[in-house]
Symmetry: C2
Amino acid sequence: MSYEQLKLKNQLCFPVYAASRLITREYQPYLAELGITYPQYLVLLVLWENQPLAVNDIADKLILNTNTITPLLKRMETDGIVKRIRSEQDERKVFISLTDYGELLKKKAAKIPEELSAKLMQDSFTTSELTTLKEQLEKLINLLNH
Amino acid sequence: MSYEQLKLKNQLCFPVYAASRLITREYQPYLAELGITYPQYLVLLVLWENQPLAVNDIADKLILNTNTITPLLKRMETDGIVKRIRSEQDERKVFISLTDYGELLKKKAAKIPEELSAKLMQDSFTTSELTTLKEQLEKLINLLNH
DNA sequence: TATTTTTGTATCGCATACGATATAATCATA
DNA sequence: TATGATTATATCGTATGCGATACAAAAATA
């Protein structure tokens, strides 16, 4: 039997997986200048929009578990990027907020999305294609994130 | 400043990253029955199509580095799924081939892609949408995998 | 109010990913 | 043919991801 459905080129899963790693790799040199990793950058995107946030709030927005986020936030605390303060109203909660340095990184990061999307647009991607791609992936995420 | 370009909802990178993890999560129960992980499944997809293959050939097809693939293949060897045989023509090369058990897993895996794509199609995705999504991601991969 | 359940965070173990580097084998070339 | 460059694989260190589990605080309920 040929098992067409098992061939790598017929999978949707593999392009998503490969694209994710390649995008991370593309961000890496920009983020290295800021001294952060890609998942740390995602945490910062969330906090730059709205802070302080409980550990769980960040985990929900990034669709990550707390056992991933907790040590990641501790490293960011060690690096002086965020502060971790236990809630007084509910002592189970830990609120995460930006340090001055964490706020400062926002200015430095502002040019990154533009430079990267410019890189894609100068090659064969149109704005409309990129929007559609993003929307389709978001639809997929909503289906899978039950 | 509002820094619109830094908002999570305006990023392409995040949906790709989140979709990748959610797809892996979706595969997990099926692969657990076979006793393999998602990256190991990708290695098997490649080997089921064509074997034996050198470590580098597998790494190239999956766009992974040998420092990821080498220990992964060793675990698969320990589990009796693949064999690792050093080439006699070129002693730097190690050829990877399937054991009988590795071949056997192909039959068991055959139903997985169908069940998962059925799950997507019963929700709002059409075949055409899935094809377009795959093609756009492949275009993205070709741009980034220089 | 005492007990059970739920919630929020953290810890542990294992398997990726990947940059940096090591090492042996092969190739290229002076 | 000796030697420097390249190639194929492997090792090391660090940072994720995530299932399983722990634990204390808060909520629910008997």
